[in-house]
Symmetry: C2
Subunit: 324 residues, 2 copies
Protein backbone atom coordinates (compact mmCIF):
# COMPACT_ATOMS: atom_id res chain seq x y z
CA UNK A 1 0.00 0.00 0.00
CA UNK A 2 1.22 3.48 -0.86
CA UNK A 3 2.13 6.34 1.43
CA UNK A 4 -0.56 8.75 2.61
CA UNK A 5 -0.12 12.45 3.32
CA UNK A 6 -2.90 12.53 5.91
CA UNK A 7 -5.16 9.96 7.57
CA UNK A 8 -8.10 11.53 9.40
CA UNK A 9 -10.40 10.12 12.06
CA UNK A 10 -13.76 11.83 12.47
CA UNK A 11 -17.53 11.85 12.27
CA UNK A 12 -18.85 10.37 9.01
CA UNK A 13 -21.85 12.63 8.39
CA UNK A 14 -24.10 13.76 5.59
CA UNK A 15 -24.91 17.48 5.78
CA UNK A 16 -28.51 18.59 5.28
CA UNK A 17 -28.31 22.27 4.37
CA UNK A 18 -31.24 24.67 4.32
CA UNK A 19 -31.68 28.42 4.37
CA UNK A 20 -33.08 29.81 7.61
CA UNK A 21 -33.73 33.20 9.13
CA UNK A 22 -32.49 34.35 12.52
CA UNK A 23 -35.94 34.15 14.11
CA UNK A 24 -36.17 30.41 13.30
CA UNK A 25 -33.06 29.86 15.43
CA UNK A 26 -34.04 32.31 18.17
CA UNK A 27 -37.52 30.87 18.65
CA UNK A 28 -36.00 27.41 19.17
CA UNK A 29 -33.22 28.61 21.47
CA UNK A 30 -30.52 27.43 19.05
CA UNK A 31 -27.28 29.46 19.51
CA UNK A 32 -26.31 30.88 16.13
CA UNK A 33 -22.94 29.73 14.78
CA UNK A 34 -22.61 26.80 17.16
CA UNK A 35 -22.71 23.01 16.81
CA UNK A 36 -24.99 21.12 19.17
CA UNK A 37 -25.56 17.38 19.40
CA UNK A 38 -29.21 16.33 19.24
CA UNK A 39 -30.91 12.95 19.52
CA UNK A 40 -32.98 11.16 16.86
CA UNK A 41 -36.28 12.59 18.12
CA UNK A 42 -35.03 16.17 18.19
CA UNK A 43 -33.49 15.70 14.73
CA UNK A 44 -36.78 14.45 13.34
CA UNK A 45 -38.66 17.39 14.85
CA UNK A 46 -36.20 20.00 13.59
CA UNK A 47 -36.07 18.41 10.12
CA UNK A 48 -39.87 18.53 9.87
CA UNK A 49 -39.80 22.24 10.67
CA UNK A 50 -36.85 23.39 8.54
CA UNK A 51 -37.01 24.33 4.89
CA UNK A 52 -36.30 22.33 1.75
CA UNK A 53 -32.71 21.14 1.89
CA UNK A 54 -29.76 19.94 -0.10
CA UNK A 55 -27.71 16.90 0.97
CA UNK A 56 -23.93 17.02 0.68
CA UNK A 57 -21.42 14.71 2.33
CA UNK A 58 -19.83 16.40 5.30
CA UNK A 59 -18.12 15.72 8.61
CA UNK A 60 -15.36 18.07 9.66
CA UNK A 61 -12.29 15.86 9.29
CA UNK A 62 -13.84 14.17 6.24
CA UNK A 63 -14.16 17.61 4.61
CA UNK A 64 -10.50 18.20 5.37
CA UNK A 65 -9.32 15.01 3.66
CA UNK A 66 -11.72 15.72 0.75
CA UNK A 67 -9.93 19.04 0.39
CA UNK A 68 -6.49 17.42 0.51
CA UNK A 69 -7.57 14.98 -2.24
CA UNK A 70 -8.94 17.87 -4.31
CA UNK A 71 -5.53 19.54 -3.97
CA UNK A 72 -3.90 16.42 -5.36
CA UNK A 73 -2.81 14.94 -2.03
CA UNK A 74 -3.15 11.34 -0.86
CA UNK A 75 -5.55 10.98 2.06
CA UNK A 76 -7.42 8.38 4.06
CA UNK A 77 -10.43 8.54 6.37
CA UNK A 78 -11.60 6.46 9.33
CA UNK A 79 -15.24 6.92 10.38
CA UNK A 80 -18.48 5.01 10.91
CA UNK A 81 -21.49 4.90 8.63
CA UNK A 82 -24.43 2.51 8.61
CA UNK A 83 -25.08 0.38 5.51
CA UNK A 84 -28.03 2.63 4.57
CA UNK A 85 -28.70 5.15 1.77
CA UNK A 86 -27.00 8.05 3.56
CA UNK A 87 -24.06 5.79 4.38
CA UNK A 88 -23.80 4.87 0.69
CA UNK A 89 -23.76 8.58 -0.19
CA UNK A 90 -21.00 9.34 2.31
CA UNK A 91 -18.85 6.40 1.18
CA UNK A 92 -19.38 7.12 -2.51
CA UNK A 93 -18.50 10.79 -2.26
CA UNK A 94 -15.32 10.40 -0.25
CA UNK A 95 -14.06 7.52 -2.43
CA UNK A 96 -14.98 9.40 -5.63
CA UNK A 97 -12.49 12.06 -4.51
CA UNK A 98 -9.80 9.42 -4.22
CA UNK A 99 -9.77 9.21 -0.43
CA UNK A 100 -8.99 5.75 1.00
CA UNK A 101 -12.02 4.81 3.14
CA UNK A 102 -12.19 1.23 4.38
CA UNK A 103 -13.99 1.41 7.75
CA UNK A 104 -16.64 -1.34 7.74
CA UNK A 105 -20.22 0.04 7.74
CA UNK A 106 -22.47 -0.98 10.65
CA UNK A 107 -25.18 -3.47 9.66
CA UNK A 108 -27.43 -2.88 12.65
CA UNK A 109 -27.98 -0.28 15.34
CA UNK A 110 -28.06 3.43 14.66
CA UNK A 111 -28.37 4.94 11.16
CA UNK A 112 -25.76 7.06 9.41
CA UNK A 113 -25.37 10.40 11.17
CA UNK A 114 -26.44 13.70 9.71
CA UNK A 115 -25.81 17.32 10.44
CA UNK A 116 -28.77 19.66 10.02
CA UNK A 117 -27.24 22.97 8.95
CA UNK A 118 -29.22 26.20 9.01
CA UNK A 119 -27.61 28.91 6.90
CA UNK A 120 -28.75 32.42 7.84
CA UNK A 121 -28.79 35.39 5.43
CA UNK A 122 -25.41 36.55 6.84
CA UNK A 123 -23.91 33.23 5.50
CA UNK A 124 -23.34 31.94 9.05
CA UNK A 125 -23.95 28.24 9.60
CA UNK A 126 -25.58 26.79 12.71
CA UNK A 127 -25.33 23.04 13.12
CA UNK A 128 -27.58 20.57 14.94
CA UNK A 129 -25.98 17.17 14.64
CA UNK A 130 -27.61 13.78 15.05
CA UNK A 131 -24.51 11.61 15.26
CA UNK A 132 -26.20 8.24 14.77
CA UNK A 133 -23.53 5.59 14.30
CA UNK A 134 -20.84 8.20 13.54
CA UNK A 135 -19.97 8.66 17.22
CA UNK A 136 -19.30 4.93 17.69
CA UNK A 137 -15.70 4.96 16.41
CA UNK A 138 -13.59 2.76 18.67
CA UNK A 139 -9.94 1.61 18.87
CA UNK A 140 -10.90 -1.43 16.75
CA UNK A 141 -11.54 0.89 13.80
CA UNK A 142 -7.94 2.13 13.93
CA UNK A 143 -5.70 -0.03 11.76
CA UNK A 144 -2.10 0.59 12.94
CA UNK A 145 -0.64 -0.24 9.53
CA UNK A 146 -2.78 2.48 7.91
CA UNK A 147 -1.76 5.05 10.55
CA UNK A 148 1.92 4.21 10.01
CA UNK A 149 1.58 4.85 6.27
CA UNK A 150 0.48 8.47 6.83
CA UNK A 151 2.78 11.44 7.40
CA UNK A 152 0.10 13.08 9.56
CA UNK A 153 -2.75 11.58 11.58
CA UNK A 154 -5.50 14.18 11.95
CA UNK A 155 -8.36 14.33 14.50
CA UNK A 156 -11.44 16.53 14.80
CA UNK A 157 -12.53 17.73 18.24
CA UNK A 158 -16.18 16.92 17.51
CA UNK A 159 -15.60 13.16 17.78
CA UNK A 160 -13.67 13.52 21.07
CA UNK A 161 -16.79 12.80 23.15
CA UNK A 162 -17.58 9.13 23.82
CA UNK A 163 -14.91 7.09 25.68
CA UNK A 164 -14.21 4.60 22.83
CA UNK A 165 -13.64 7.46 20.36
CA UNK A 166 -11.25 9.16 22.80
CA UNK A 167 -9.41 5.85 23.19
CA UNK A 168 -9.23 5.52 19.39
CA UNK A 169 -7.50 8.91 19.20
CA UNK A 170 -4.97 8.01 21.87
CA UNK A 171 -4.24 4.67 20.19
CA UNK A 172 -3.76 6.33 16.80
CA UNK A 173 -1.56 9.09 18.25
CA UNK A 174 0.68 6.55 19.96
CA UNK A 175 1.01 4.41 16.83
CA UNK A 176 1.81 7.51 14.75
CA UNK A 177 4.46 8.83 17.12
CA UNK A 178 6.10 5.44 17.53
CA UNK A 179 6.41 5.40 13.73
CA UNK A 180 8.00 8.87 13.76
CA UNK A 181 4.88 10.50 12.27
CA UNK A 182 3.07 13.72 13.21
CA UNK A 183 -0.31 14.11 14.88
CA UNK A 184 -2.73 16.99 14.33
CA UNK A 185 -6.04 18.10 15.88
CA UNK A 186 -8.72 20.66 15.18
CA UNK A 187 -10.49 21.81 18.34
CA UNK A 188 -13.68 22.04 16.19
CA UNK A 189 -16.00 23.93 18.53
CA UNK A 190 -15.96 26.00 21.71
CA UNK A 191 -18.72 23.88 23.26
CA UNK A 192 -16.76 20.67 22.66
CA UNK A 193 -13.75 22.25 24.38
CA UNK A 194 -15.86 23.48 27.32
CA UNK A 195 -17.36 20.02 27.80
CA UNK A 196 -14.05 18.13 27.87
CA UNK A 197 -11.45 20.82 28.73
CA UNK A 198 -9.19 18.74 30.96
CA UNK A 199 -9.05 15.88 28.50
CA UNK A 200 -8.52 18.23 25.56
CA UNK A 201 -5.57 19.77 27.43
CA UNK A 202 -4.11 16.30 28.03
CA UNK A 203 -4.61 15.43 24.37
CA UNK A 204 -3.08 18.67 23.05
CA UNK A 205 -0.13 18.75 25.45
CA UNK A 206 0.56 15.02 25.31
CA UNK A 207 -0.06 14.08 21.69
CA UNK A 208 -0.50 16.97 19.25
CA UNK A 209 2.17 18.42 16.96
CA UNK A 210 -0.03 20.66 14.80
CA UNK A 211 -3.07 22.25 16.43
CA UNK A 212 -5.90 24.05 14.58
CA UNK A 213 -8.33 26.31 16.46
CA UNK A 214 -10.30 29.48 15.95
CA UNK A 215 -10.19 32.39 18.41
CA UNK A 216 -13.09 31.24 20.58
CA UNK A 217 -11.81 27.68 20.77
CA UNK A 218 -8.25 28.51 21.80
CA UNK A 219 -9.53 31.02 24.39
CA UNK A 220 -11.89 28.33 25.73
CA UNK A 221 -9.10 25.74 25.92
CA UNK A 222 -6.94 27.98 28.14
CA UNK A 223 -9.83 29.91 29.71
CA UNK A 224 -7.98 32.97 28.43
CA UNK A 225 -9.50 36.44 28.81
CA UNK A 226 -8.42 37.49 25.32
CA UNK A 227 -6.77 36.20 22.16
CA UNK A 228 -3.31 37.48 23.13
CA UNK A 229 -3.41 35.54 26.38
CA UNK A 230 -4.48 32.42 24.50
CA UNK A 231 -1.57 32.84 22.08
CA UNK A 232 0.87 33.08 25.00
CA UNK A 233 -0.68 30.02 26.62
CA UNK A 234 -0.46 27.78 23.55
CA UNK A 235 3.01 28.85 22.38
CA UNK A 236 5.48 26.00 22.86
CA UNK A 237 2.78 23.52 23.87
CA UNK A 238 2.86 22.00 20.37
CA UNK A 239 5.18 22.47 17.36
CA UNK A 240 2.67 24.59 15.48
CA UNK A 241 -0.63 26.20 16.47
CA UNK A 242 -2.69 27.50 13.54
CA UNK A 243 -5.24 29.99 14.87
CA UNK A 244 -7.94 31.15 12.45
CA UNK A 245 -9.73 34.49 12.83
CA UNK A 246 -12.37 34.51 10.03
CA UNK A 247 -12.05 37.63 7.85
CA UNK A 248 -8.99 38.73 9.87
CA UNK A 249 -7.02 35.79 8.46
CA UNK A 250 -4.95 33.46 10.63
CA UNK A 251 -1.91 33.43 12.90
CA UNK A 252 0.65 30.62 12.94
CA UNK A 253 2.34 30.23 16.34
CA UNK A 254 5.62 28.34 16.67
CA UNK A 255 7.77 28.21 19.83
CA UNK A 256 9.74 31.29 18.72
CA UNK A 257 7.77 32.96 15.93
CA UNK A 258 4.41 34.39 14.98
CA UNK A 259 3.34 34.48 11.36
CA UNK A 260 0.31 36.44 10.13
CA UNK A 261 -1.66 34.99 7.20
CA UNK A 262 -4.12 37.37 5.51
CA UNK A 263 -7.58 36.09 4.51
CA UNK A 264 -8.00 35.41 0.78
CA UNK A 265 -10.57 37.78 -0.77
CA UNK A 266 -14.02 36.36 -1.65
CA UNK A 267 -16.48 38.05 -4.04
CA UNK A 268 -19.49 36.93 -2.00
CA UNK A 269 -19.60 34.82 1.15
CA UNK A 270 -22.51 32.38 0.64
CA UNK A 271 -22.11 29.81 3.41
CA UNK A 272 -19.26 29.55 5.92
CA UNK A 273 -19.80 25.80 6.50
CA UNK A 274 -16.44 24.06 6.20
CA UNK A 275 -14.20 27.15 6.27
CA UNK A 276 -12.05 25.79 9.10
CA UNK A 277 -12.03 22.28 7.63
CA UNK A 278 -10.70 23.49 4.29
CA UNK A 279 -8.21 25.85 5.92
CA UNK A 280 -6.76 22.78 7.66
CA UNK A 281 -6.77 20.91 4.33
CA UNK A 282 -4.71 23.57 2.60
CA UNK A 283 -2.31 23.90 5.50
CA UNK A 284 -1.69 20.16 5.85
CA UNK A 285 -1.28 19.79 2.09
CA UNK A 286 1.56 22.31 2.17
CA UNK A 287 2.94 20.95 5.45
CA UNK A 288 3.20 17.36 4.18
CA UNK A 289 5.10 18.68 1.16
CA UNK A 290 7.62 20.42 3.41
CA UNK A 291 6.60 23.92 2.30
CA UNK A 292 7.48 27.00 4.37
CA UNK A 293 4.73 27.85 6.87
CA UNK A 294 3.84 31.08 5.01
CA UNK A 295 3.16 29.01 1.88
CA UNK A 296 1.11 26.48 3.91
CA UNK A 297 -0.95 29.42 5.16
CA UNK A 298 -1.40 30.86 1.68
CA UNK A 299 -2.77 27.56 0.33
CA UNK A 300 -4.99 27.24 3.42
CA UNK A 301 -6.52 30.69 2.88
CA UNK A 302 -7.28 29.95 -0.79
CA UNK A 303 -9.01 26.67 0.12
CA UNK A 304 -11.10 28.37 2.81
CA UNK A 305 -12.12 31.11 0.39
CA UNK A 306 -13.38 28.56 -2.18
CA UNK A 307 -15.57 26.72 0.32
CA UNK A 308 -17.33 29.84 1.69
CA UNK A 309 -18.22 31.04 -1.82
CA UNK A 310 -20.90 28.32 -2.23
CA UNK A 311 -23.37 26.13 -0.33
CA UNK A 312 -21.84 23.05 1.34
CA UNK A 313 -18.49 22.05 2.81
CA UNK A 314 -17.02 19.98 -0.01
CA UNK A 315 -15.02 21.81 -2.71
CA UNK A 316 -16.87 22.47 -5.99
CA UNK A 317 -13.79 23.71 -7.83
CA UNK A 318 -10.70 21.58 -8.29
CA UNK A 319 -8.55 23.11 -5.53
CA UNK A 320 -5.28 22.09 -7.21
CA UNK A 321 -6.13 24.48 -10.07
CA UNK A 322 -7.04 27.36 -7.73
CA UNK A 323 -3.78 27.10 -5.84
CA UNK A 324 -1.60 26.92 -8.95
CA UNK B 1 -59.87 21.30 1.85
CA UNK B 2 -58.81 24.39 -0.05
CA UNK B 3 -58.53 24.94 -3.77
CA UNK B 4 -55.29 24.09 -5.58
CA UNK B 5 -53.85 25.89 -8.57
CA UNK B 6 -52.10 22.79 -9.88
CA UNK B 7 -51.96 19.12 -8.94
CA UNK B 8 -49.14 17.24 -10.62
CA UNK B 9 -48.58 13.52 -11.13
CA UNK B 10 -45.02 12.42 -11.79
CA UNK B 11 -41.89 10.56 -10.80
CA UNK B 12 -40.88 11.17 -7.17
CA UNK B 13 -37.09 11.22 -7.51
CA UNK B 14 -34.03 12.45 -5.69
CA UNK B 15 -31.44 13.94 -8.05
CA UNK B 16 -27.79 12.96 -7.60
CA UNK B 17 -25.80 15.68 -9.37
CA UNK B 18 -22.12 15.47 -10.24
CA UNK B 19 -19.78 17.27 -12.60
CA UNK B 20 -18.62 15.19 -15.54
CA UNK B 21 -16.64 15.71 -18.70
CA UNK B 22 -17.79 14.80 -22.19
CA UNK B 23 -15.43 11.84 -22.45
CA UNK B 24 -17.04 10.19 -19.40
CA UNK B 25 -20.36 10.15 -21.28
CA UNK B 26 -18.86 9.21 -24.63
CA UNK B 27 -16.87 6.27 -23.29
CA UNK B 28 -20.07 4.83 -21.77
CA UNK B 29 -22.22 5.48 -24.86
CA UNK B 30 -24.51 7.83 -22.91
CA UNK B 31 -26.17 10.35 -25.29
CA UNK B 32 -25.47 13.85 -23.94
CA UNK B 33 -28.54 15.88 -22.98
CA UNK B 34 -30.90 12.89 -22.88
CA UNK B 35 -32.73 10.99 -20.15
CA UNK B 36 -32.41 7.22 -20.15
CA UNK B 37 -33.96 4.72 -17.77
CA UNK B 38 -31.50 2.32 -16.16
CA UNK B 39 -31.97 -0.61 -13.80
CA UNK B 40 -30.63 -0.99 -10.26
CA UNK B 41 -27.46 -2.76 -11.37
CA UNK B 42 -26.59 -0.18 -14.02
CA UNK B 43 -27.34 2.62 -11.53
CA UNK B 44 -25.00 1.10 -8.97
CA UNK B 45 -22.25 0.72 -11.56
CA UNK B 46 -22.61 4.28 -12.88
CA UNK B 47 -22.78 5.72 -9.34
CA UNK B 48 -19.56 3.93 -8.40
CA UNK B 49 -17.82 5.48 -11.40
CA UNK B 50 -19.16 9.05 -11.26
CA UNK B 51 -17.73 11.86 -9.17
CA UNK B 52 -18.67 13.16 -5.71
CA UNK B 53 -22.26 14.33 -5.85
CA UNK B 54 -24.88 16.54 -4.28
CA UNK B 55 -28.39 15.25 -3.55
CA UNK B 56 -31.37 17.51 -4.25
CA UNK B 57 -35.01 16.51 -4.52
CA UNK B 58 -36.07 16.35 -8.15
CA UNK B 59 -38.55 14.74 -10.49
CA UNK B 60 -39.78 16.80 -13.41
CA UNK B 61 -43.41 17.46 -12.40
CA UNK B 62 -42.35 17.69 -8.74
CA UNK B 63 -39.90 20.44 -9.69
CA UNK B 64 -42.76 22.23 -11.46
CA UNK B 65 -45.04 22.22 -8.41
CA UNK B 66 -42.06 23.21 -6.21
CA UNK B 67 -41.69 26.22 -8.51
CA UNK B 68 -45.37 27.07 -8.30
CA UNK B 69 -45.19 26.95 -4.49
CA UNK B 70 -42.09 29.15 -4.54
CA UNK B 71 -44.06 31.66 -6.63
CA UNK B 72 -46.77 31.71 -3.96
CA UNK B 73 -49.17 29.32 -5.68
CA UNK B 74 -51.03 26.38 -4.13
CA UNK B 75 -49.90 23.04 -5.48
CA UNK B 76 -50.20 19.32 -4.84
CA UNK B 77 -48.16 16.32 -5.94
CA UNK B 78 -48.95 12.65 -6.49
CA UNK B 79 -45.96 10.31 -6.74
CA UNK B 80 -44.44 7.19 -5.18
CA UNK B 81 -41.54 7.02 -2.76
CA UNK B 82 -40.40 4.15 -0.55
CA UNK B 83 -40.32 4.65 3.24
CA UNK B 84 -36.50 4.94 3.15
CA UNK B 85 -33.99 7.77 3.68
CA UNK B 86 -34.24 9.10 0.13
CA UNK B 87 -38.03 8.89 0.37
CA UNK B 88 -37.93 10.92 3.57
CA UNK B 89 -35.79 13.53 1.81
CA UNK B 90 -38.20 13.80 -1.12
CA UNK B 91 -41.28 14.06 1.11
CA UNK B 92 -39.65 16.57 3.45
CA UNK B 93 -38.47 18.88 0.71
CA UNK B 94 -41.72 19.06 -1.21
CA UNK B 95 -43.80 19.56 1.95
CA UNK B 96 -41.35 22.16 3.27
CA UNK B 97 -42.21 24.22 0.18
CA UNK B 98 -45.90 24.01 1.08
CA UNK B 99 -46.85 21.44 -1.56
CA UNK B 100 -49.65 19.04 -0.56
CA UNK B 101 -48.14 15.53 -0.81
CA UNK B 102 -50.17 12.67 0.63
CA UNK B 103 -49.33 9.64 -1.55
CA UNK B 104 -48.61 6.74 0.84
CA UNK B 105 -44.95 5.60 0.74
CA UNK B 106 -44.30 1.97 -0.21
CA UNK B 107 -43.18 -0.20 2.75
CA UNK B 108 -41.70 -3.01 0.66
CA UNK B 109 -40.47 -3.60 -2.86
CA UNK B 110 -38.27 -1.18 -4.73
CA UNK B 111 -36.46 1.75 -3.10
CA UNK B 112 -37.05 5.43 -3.78
CA UNK B 113 -36.00 6.35 -7.30
CA UNK B 114 -33.04 8.51 -8.12
CA UNK B 115 -31.80 10.35 -11.14
CA UNK B 116 -28.06 10.34 -11.70
CA UNK B 117 -27.32 13.67 -13.40
CA UNK B 118 -24.01 14.34 -15.08
CA UNK B 119 -23.41 18.05 -15.66
CA UNK B 120 -20.82 18.75 -18.36
CA UNK B 121 -18.69 21.93 -18.51
CA UNK B 122 -21.16 23.45 -21.03
CA UNK B 123 -23.85 23.28 -18.25
CA UNK B 124 -25.79 20.58 -20.14
CA UNK B 125 -27.36 17.88 -18.01
CA UNK B 126 -27.48 14.20 -18.99
CA UNK B 127 -29.76 12.00 -16.90
CA UNK B 128 -29.63 8.30 -16.12
CA UNK B 129 -32.68 7.45 -14.06
CA UNK B 130 -33.22 4.46 -11.81
CA UNK B 131 -36.97 4.79 -11.26
CA UNK B 132 -37.26 2.36 -8.35
CA UNK B 133 -40.77 2.62 -6.89
CA UNK B 134 -41.41 5.97 -8.64
CA UNK B 135 -42.69 4.31 -11.80
CA UNK B 136 -45.32 2.31 -9.89
CA UNK B 137 -47.95 5.06 -9.79
CA UNK B 138 -51.35 3.50 -10.48
CA UNK B 139 -54.98 4.69 -10.72
CA UNK B 140 -55.36 3.88 -6.99
CA UNK B 141 -52.95 6.72 -6.21
CA UNK B 142 -55.25 9.24 -7.89
CA UNK B 143 -57.77 10.64 -5.41
CA UNK B 144 -60.64 12.12 -7.49
CA UNK B 145 -61.53 14.65 -4.79
CA UNK B 146 -57.99 16.05 -4.90
CA UNK B 147 -58.02 16.28 -8.71
CA UNK B 148 -61.36 18.13 -8.60
CA UNK B 149 -59.93 20.72 -6.21
CA UNK B 150 -57.22 21.75 -8.70
CA UNK B 151 -57.65 24.21 -11.58
CA UNK B 152 -55.05 22.31 -13.58
CA UNK B 153 -53.96 18.67 -13.45
CA UNK B 154 -50.41 18.39 -14.78
CA UNK B 155 -48.56 15.33 -16.10
CA UNK B 156 -44.94 14.69 -17.05
CA UNK B 157 -44.18 12.55 -20.09
CA UNK B 158 -41.47 10.66 -18.23
CA UNK B 159 -43.99 8.73 -16.11
CA UNK B 160 -46.08 7.80 -19.19
CA UNK B 161 -44.39 4.42 -19.52
CA UNK B 162 -45.84 1.53 -17.47
CA UNK B 163 -49.49 0.63 -18.10
CA UNK B 164 -50.76 1.49 -14.58
CA UNK B 165 -49.18 4.95 -14.77
CA UNK B 166 -50.77 5.59 -18.17
CA UNK B 167 -54.12 4.48 -16.73
CA UNK B 168 -53.61 6.84 -13.79
CA UNK B 169 -53.16 9.76 -16.23
CA UNK B 170 -56.32 8.87 -18.17
CA UNK B 171 -58.31 8.52 -14.95
CA UNK B 172 -57.08 11.87 -13.65
CA UNK B 173 -57.73 13.62 -16.99
CA UNK B 174 -61.30 12.30 -17.10
CA UNK B 175 -62.01 13.34 -13.50
CA UNK B 176 -60.56 16.80 -14.17
CA UNK B 177 -62.53 17.40 -17.34
CA UNK B 178 -65.79 16.15 -15.82
CA UNK B 179 -65.22 18.73 -13.09
CA UNK B 180 -64.68 21.47 -15.71
CA UNK B 181 -60.94 21.65 -14.98
CA UNK B 182 -57.95 21.87 -17.34
CA UNK B 183 -55.34 19.21 -18.05
CA UNK B 184 -51.72 19.87 -18.96
CA UNK B 185 -48.77 17.71 -20.06
CA UNK B 186 -45.07 18.14 -20.62
CA UNK B 187 -43.69 15.78 -23.25
CA UNK B 188 -40.50 15.64 -21.13
CA UNK B 189 -38.11 13.92 -23.52
CA UNK B 190 -37.73 13.00 -27.19
CA UNK B 191 -36.94 9.37 -26.34
CA UNK B 192 -40.13 9.03 -24.26
CA UNK B 193 -42.11 10.38 -27.21
CA UNK B 194 -40.39 8.04 -29.68
CA UNK B 195 -41.10 5.03 -27.46
CA UNK B 196 -44.82 5.70 -27.06
CA UNK B 197 -45.70 7.98 -29.98
CA UNK B 198 -49.17 6.59 -30.78
CA UNK B 199 -50.27 6.71 -27.17
CA UNK B 200 -48.79 10.18 -26.66
CA UNK B 201 -50.79 11.38 -29.68
CA UNK B 202 -53.97 9.87 -28.20
CA UNK B 203 -53.21 11.50 -24.86
CA UNK B 204 -52.45 14.93 -26.33
CA UNK B 205 -55.34 14.98 -28.78
CA UNK B 206 -57.88 13.42 -26.44
CA UNK B 207 -57.07 14.90 -23.06
CA UNK B 208 -54.63 17.85 -23.05
CA UNK B 209 -55.55 21.54 -22.91
CA UNK B 210 -52.08 22.99 -22.28
CA UNK B 211 -49.09 21.20 -23.81
CA UNK B 212 -45.43 21.88 -23.00
CA UNK B 213 -42.66 20.62 -25.28
CA UNK B 214 -39.26 21.62 -26.54
CA UNK B 215 -38.34 21.68 -30.22
CA UNK B 216 -37.05 18.12 -30.42
CA UNK B 217 -40.02 16.72 -28.53
CA UNK B 218 -42.73 18.40 -30.61
CA UNK B 219 -40.94 17.41 -33.84
CA UNK B 220 -40.72 13.82 -32.55
CA UNK B 221 -44.42 13.76 -31.66
CA UNK B 222 -45.48 14.67 -35.19
CA UNK B 223 -42.44 13.19 -36.94
CA UNK B 224 -42.05 16.66 -38.41
CA UNK B 225 -39.02 17.50 -40.58
CA UNK B 226 -38.59 20.93 -38.97
CA UNK B 227 -39.92 23.14 -36.22
CA UNK B 228 -42.32 25.03 -38.54
CA UNK B 229 -43.97 21.80 -39.60
CA UNK B 230 -44.34 20.74 -35.97
CA UNK B 231 -45.96 24.09 -35.13
CA UNK B 232 -48.47 23.63 -37.95
CA UNK B 233 -49.19 20.08 -36.79
CA UNK B 234 -49.88 20.96 -33.16
CA UNK B 235 -51.88 24.13 -33.77
CA UNK B 236 -55.50 23.59 -32.85
CA UNK B 237 -54.85 20.14 -31.36
CA UNK B 238 -54.94 21.62 -27.84
CA UNK B 239 -55.92 25.08 -26.49
CA UNK B 240 -52.34 26.13 -25.93
CA UNK B 241 -49.02 24.62 -26.94
CA UNK B 242 -46.00 26.14 -25.20
CA UNK B 243 -42.89 25.29 -27.19
CA UNK B 244 -39.53 26.07 -25.59
CA UNK B 245 -36.37 26.69 -27.62
CA UNK B 246 -33.58 27.11 -25.00
CA UNK B 247 -31.73 30.40 -25.50
CA UNK B 248 -34.07 31.32 -28.38
CA UNK B 249 -36.95 31.67 -25.90
CA UNK B 250 -40.36 30.09 -26.43
CA UNK B 251 -43.36 30.21 -28.75
CA UNK B 252 -46.94 30.00 -27.54
CA UNK B 253 -49.27 28.47 -30.12
CA UNK B 254 -53.04 28.96 -29.88
CA UNK B 255 -55.54 27.97 -32.58
CA UNK B 256 -55.27 31.39 -34.22
CA UNK B 257 -52.19 33.09 -32.82
CA UNK B 258 -48.46 32.72 -32.30
CA UNK B 259 -46.74 34.56 -29.47
CA UNK B 260 -42.95 34.82 -29.17
CA UNK B 261 -41.45 34.88 -25.66
CA UNK B 262 -37.81 35.98 -25.40
CA UNK B 263 -35.46 34.11 -23.07
CA UNK B 264 -34.63 35.93 -19.82
CA UNK B 265 -30.93 36.89 -19.64
CA UNK B 266 -28.69 34.87 -17.30
CA UNK B 267 -25.26 36.03 -16.11
CA UNK B 268 -23.82 32.50 -16.19
CA UNK B 269 -25.56 29.24 -17.07
CA UNK B 270 -24.36 26.71 -14.49
CA UNK B 271 -26.67 23.71 -14.93
CA UNK B 272 -29.68 23.46 -17.22
CA UNK B 273 -31.35 20.74 -15.10
CA UNK B 274 -34.98 21.75 -14.53
CA UNK B 275 -35.17 24.57 -17.09
CA UNK B 276 -38.29 23.13 -18.74
CA UNK B 277 -39.84 22.18 -15.41
CA UNK B 278 -39.53 25.71 -14.06
CA UNK B 279 -40.67 27.26 -17.34
CA UNK B 280 -43.88 25.23 -16.93
CA UNK B 281 -44.14 26.35 -13.29
CA UNK B 282 -44.03 30.02 -14.22
CA UNK B 283 -46.46 29.59 -17.10
CA UNK B 284 -49.02 27.64 -15.06
CA UNK B 285 -48.74 30.10 -12.17
CA UNK B 286 -49.76 32.93 -14.50
CA UNK B 287 -52.32 30.79 -16.32
CA UNK B 288 -54.15 29.78 -13.13
CA UNK B 289 -54.36 33.47 -12.21
CA UNK B 290 -55.99 34.31 -15.54
CA UNK B 291 -53.03 36.39 -16.76
CA UNK B 292 -52.57 37.19 -20.47
CA UNK B 293 -50.42 34.58 -22.23
CA UNK B 294 -47.58 37.08 -22.76
CA UNK B 295 -47.41 37.62 -18.99
CA UNK B 296 -47.53 33.85 -18.37
CA UNK B 297 -44.56 33.54 -20.73
CA UNK B 298 -42.67 36.36 -19.02
CA UNK B 299 -42.99 34.70 -15.59
CA UNK B 300 -42.02 31.36 -17.14
CA UNK B 301 -38.83 32.77 -18.63
CA UNK B 302 -37.80 34.36 -15.31
CA UNK B 303 -38.32 31.06 -13.45
CA UNK B 304 -36.30 29.13 -16.04
CA UNK B 305 -33.48 31.67 -15.82
CA UNK B 306 -33.26 31.26 -12.02
CA UNK B 307 -32.96 27.48 -12.16
CA UNK B 308 -30.18 27.37 -14.76
CA UNK B 309 -28.05 29.84 -12.79
CA UNK B 310 -27.22 27.20 -10.13
CA UNK B 311 -26.76 23.46 -9.55
CA UNK B 312 -30.01 21.50 -9.12
CA UNK B 313 -33.61 21.78 -10.30
CA UNK B 314 -35.29 23.24 -7.22
CA UNK B 315 -35.37 27.05 -6.90
CA UNK B 316 -32.79 28.57 -4.51
CA UNK B 317 -34.24 32.07 -4.66
CA UNK B 318 -37.82 32.85 -3.62
CA UNK B 319 -39.35 33.02 -7.11
CA UNK B 320 -42.19 35.30 -5.98
CA UNK B 321 -39.60 37.99 -5.25
CA UNK B 322 -37.82 37.57 -8.61
CA UNK B 323 -41.05 37.93 -10.55
CA UNK B 324 -42.22 41.03 -8.68
Amino acid sequence: MSELDVIAIGNALVDVLAHSDDSFLASRGIPKGSMQLIDATAAERLYAEMGAAVEVSGGSAANTVAGIASLGGRAGFIGKVHADQLGDIFAHDIRALGVEFTTAPARNGRPTGRCLILVTPDAQRTMQTFLGVAGEVSPDDVDPSQIKRAQVTYFEGYLFDAAPAKAAYIKAAQVAHEAGRKVSLSLSDKFCVDRHRAEFLDLVHGHIDVLFANELEIMALYEAPDFGAAVSAVRGKCDIAVLTRSEKGAVIITPHDTLEIPAHPVARVVDTTGAGDLFAAGFLYGYTRGKPLAECGRVAAICASEIISHFGARPEAKLAELVR
